[in-house]
């Protein structure tokens, strides 16, 4: 275990939480069916989509409405009990990983679409509403909710807010932060606060932007107003093959340089197409070193114009084969492999670890070459899918948790990729969040002054640090500890701190 980069040491100690007092306090404010405390009932909540990390909480609260959320939070606040909010548990960074001395606050029962106003193009939804359910409800009006994470059939809008989730179409349509007008939330003290409103801006600081991507550390989301946008009349996708990853990378830059912002611009490397093709039979070119999927949407005239323009660019950039979807069935088939990449990889490897760094697009080839070398170094395979348009990489490291040492090697492999994203001018996470998983890598991305500022922001909302402790923002001590092993850009990270 000595190679393990992930320190499991806790920043905050909650071991003195009184379980009996907690259960009594929760039972007083929740219906019996909304409180789980038996080990077998708690088991399903022990992890999120990142199943390598598991902890069983003391209790799970499943409030039915906002008033119960307020009561649960007030009780936990009074008793000093940590609270981890949870949506669908599809998160990939251990954000919803429970604290074993705390409560999981599941919003799963709050899944009502409160109002949908096609004229105003807004939907007011409870936090447990699934991402796709919003678009389904809006469809009869020719509208939809734009951010479309691949997990959209399962993940909730509350989780999307917490992670600022994106999807394959966010290059053109934006992330969660660009598509939400208002968030209603409850602070750990049980106070109800509204961020934003149904107008396009609200007075004061943009706390709506601060809430989005705050990983459940600032407040618990109880209601959200999202923007709905008109469904484009048509969409078509180009699938282009390249015999070198560098060429595919250049082609992405060339499309942007031509003044085109495609609706989606995704890349898969050879290992990725090989993994997904048997699974989805999308017809991918298995000889290509990389394929690009470039989508255009809009009016039929617009799409025709843009597809022709993109085809021209891709040809000039050296695509070895170009195919354009002729109908929606074909378009969805081209996308199927990309959208099913994670489950497909899950079917060829006992376990996989999904990374999520962002880099400037022009550094792509460099990154992929480095990952290639790391595969040899760690003796593990890695499959690359990539939101190429916005530089967001998803290397999937394949491993087998039952082989001793593989998980630890995988973690080190992952941490090395993240360190490189920072070195290349990017970020350690583009959309999955820091959570529990990348907390040490935060020490690579940020200096201690910024981390201290983050802690002050946290304290502005939750001075006792009860909401989702030990996640997202590392303590300076953790970084000093981590820094012993890692030297950042030739400098020791956090030199001002004592080493121990």
């Amino acid at each position: 275990m000595t190679t393990r980069t992930h320190s499991h040491e806790r920043d905050q100690d909650f071991s003195d939480v009184d379980r009996a007092a907690l259960l009594e306090a929760l039972a007083a404010v929740l219906p019996a069916a909304s409180l789980l405390a038996d080990h077998e009932d708690l088991k399903p909540y022990e992890c999120d989509g990142l199943s390598a990390y598991r902890r069983v909480p003391l209790a799970v609260a499943l409030p039915e409405d906002e008033a119960q959320v307020v009561d649960v939070l007030k009780a936990c606040h009074r008793l000093g009990v940590p609270v981890v909010a949870r949506g669908a548990g599809t998160g990939l960074s251990g954000g919803a990983l429970p604290n074993e001395h705390g409560v999981v606050l599941s919003l799963a029962k709050m899944k009502r679409i409160v109002a949908l106003d096609p004229y105003a193009r807004t939907a007011v939804v409870q936090p447990g509403v699934r991402n796709l359910a919003i678009s389904e409800a809006a469809a009869p009006h020719g509208l939809y909710y734009a951010p479309d994470p691949s997990s959209q059939i399962a993940c909730t809008i509350g989780g999307n807010i917490a992670e600022n989730s994106g999807g394959v179409h966010c290059l053109k349509y934006g992330l969660t932060v660009h598509n939400v007008l208002r968030v209603r939330a409850v602070t750990i003290a049980g106070e109800i606060v509204e961020f934003g409103n149904h107008a396009l801006d609200a007075p004061g600081y943009d706390l709506l932007a601060l809430m989005i991507g705050s990983e459940g550390l600032l407040a618990v989301v109880t209601e959200v107003t999202v923007k709905l946008v008109p469904k484009p009349e048509v969409a078509r996708v180009i699938m282009a093959s390249f015999d070198a990853v560098t060429k595919a990378g250049t082609a992405v830059a060339d499309i942007i340089a031509a003044g085109i912002i495609p609706a989606g611009l995704e890349m898969m490397d050879k290992q990725a197409t090989a993994a997904v093709e048997p699974f989805v039979k999308a017809g991918y070119d298995l000889n290509a070193a990389a394929i690009l999927l470039a989508e255009s949407d809009g009016t039929p005239e617009e799409v025709e114009e843009e597809i022709a323009a993109m085809r021209g660019v891709l040809e000039r950039s050296g695509a070895s084969e170009i195919r354009v979807s002729n109908d929606d069935a074909e378009r969805l088939r081209f996308w199927a492999g990309r959208k099913a990449a994670f489950p497909a990889v899950g079917s060829i490897s006992p376990d996989y670890y999904c990374m999520d760094g962002t880099i400037p697009r022009k550094r792509l080839a460099e990154m992929l070459t480095a990952i290639n070398d790391m595969e040899t170094k760690y003796g593990l395979r890695c499959v690359n899918v990539f939101h190429a348009g916005d530089g967001n990489l998803h290397p999937l490291i394949l491993y087998d948790a039952n082989v001793p040492g593989e998980l630890e090697r995988t973690e080190t492999f992952g941490a090395e990729i993240l360190e490189l994203t920072v070195k290349l001018g990017g970020a350690i996470t583009g959309e999955h969040g820091v959570g529990y998983e990348k907390i040490n890598s935060m020490c690579v991305q940020f200096a201690s002054d910024e981390l201290a500022a983050f802690h002050r922001v946290k304290a502005a909302f939750d001075p006792q640090g009860l909401l989702n402790p030990d996640k997202a923002i590392p303590t300076l001590h953790r970084c000093a500890e981590f820094g012993r092993m890692h030297v950042h850009q030739g400098q020791l990270a956090h030199p001002e701190l004592e080493r121990f």
Partner: protein, 346 residues
């Protein structure tokens, strides 16, 4: 230069952070000793294919826009250009967006990263230059529109976009209620309508995007008069006659809010979501009208006495105000930066 800024912060006096001063009118009246940002100027990096530009706070907006235009790109949120010297730091701190905001997004949507000096003169770096970044809290977007109250912005990175290929400006004679209805119906359809303005019985809309899309949309919205695209620049820069006034309210409301029956003239932008109002109705009446429909009213331009009386920005509910104060204290515990500019409470 940064050292000079730090020294000025360390002196511990209240500071009025200022670029060219073109937005001195905005928010509550500036107070404190002047900290002029203009000498810290220049584009640090501009990479057209990475879609970002990074500039020091004192860089003139005009310089940035000229560099972008040379590559066929732009700041799609169209910040108003109140003067040729307006600086990018001031643009970001004010957080104001122009006519295309309704389709392209607001300034805050384009902020990728900021560098900041906080109240202890520490250099802080949030966000970066990549499009997607969820590491740590999204402090950069909070800085946008914070009117310099959280720190001295020293550098900003903004997302840039290609300029639309084709453009058409159309005009229709229409009463306000009908225009509001049209705008909301059009917005529910896949039309490349990027901006709109209604004033004195005339609705002007801007279609922009791919050539074919603009042509097709012209058929769909129906026959109207055409107008010069230069109109949008004057609207963006607030140089039309309408803006020539001492007192001006800015009502940010849901686009579907019905016509306000308030005395005075109105100019409506953003598909109905932004209502400019020249009115001598009592401030409480105007604020109440905006909040009744779920929006807010900003006293945008006004004589200092009036601003002092009612505050530039609509009051916040107590729990939200408490969070504002906490956040201010997190960055500027001594209250050095632009005291009172946003709210008199901090």
């Amino acid at each position: 230069m940064i050292e000079q800024f730090k020294a000025q912060i360390r002196a511990g006096q209240a500071l009025c952070i200022r670029g060219a001063g073109s937005k001195d009118f905005y928010g509550n009246p500036p107070q404190g000793e002047m900290l002029d940002t203009r000498a810290y100027s220049g584009i640090v990096a501009y990479e057209p294919t990475e879609l970002y530009v990074t500039a020091k706070c004192g860089t003139p907006l005009a310089e940035i826009e000229a560099a972008l235009a040379a590559q066929g790109q732009c700041l799609a949120f169209e910040p108003p250009r109140f003067s040729a010297e307006s600086t990018i730091g001031g643009v970001v701190a004010a957080g104001l967006s122009g006519p295309r905001r309704v389709s392209a997004g607001a300034l805050r949507d384009f902020v990728l990263g900021v560098k900041l000096l906080d109240g202890a003169a520490r250099e802080l770096n949030f966000g970066g230059q990549v499009m997607k970044n969820v590491a740590g809290y999204d402090v950069s977007r909070v800085i946008a529109g914070s009117l310099g109250t959280l720190g001295l912005i020293t550098e900003v990175s903004l997302k840039v976009l290609p300029k639309p290929v084709a453009d058409a400006t159309l005009r229709f004679e229409m009463a306000q209620a009908a225009a509001l209805d049209k705008l909301n119906r059009w917005a529910g359809q896949p039309l490349p309508m990027v901006a709109s303005a209604w004033e004195a019985g005339v609705l002007t809309i801007r279609l922009a995007g791919a050539r074919a899309a603009v042509e097709a949309a012209q058929q769909k919205v129906g026959v109207g008069g055409t107008a010069d695209a230069g109109f949008w620049d004057t609207l963006r820069d607030q140089t039309t006659d309408f803006f020539n006034t001492e007192t001006l309210w800015r009502l940010s409301v849901p686009s579907t809010a019905p016509e306000f029956k308030l005395p005075g003239e109105q100019l409506i932008e953003w598909g109905g979501a932004l209502r400019w109002l020249k009115s001598d109705a009592p401030p409480e009446t105007i604020r109440a009208a905006a909040s009744a429909v779920g929006g807010s009213a900003t006293l945008y331009r006004a004589p200092a006495e009036l601003k002092a009386q009612v505050g530039a920005f609509a009051p916040l509910p107590p729990p939200l105000m408490a969070l504002h104060k906490n956040l201010k204290a997190a960055f500027d515990p001594q209250g050095l930066f632009n005291p009172g500019r946003l709210y008199k409470d901090f």
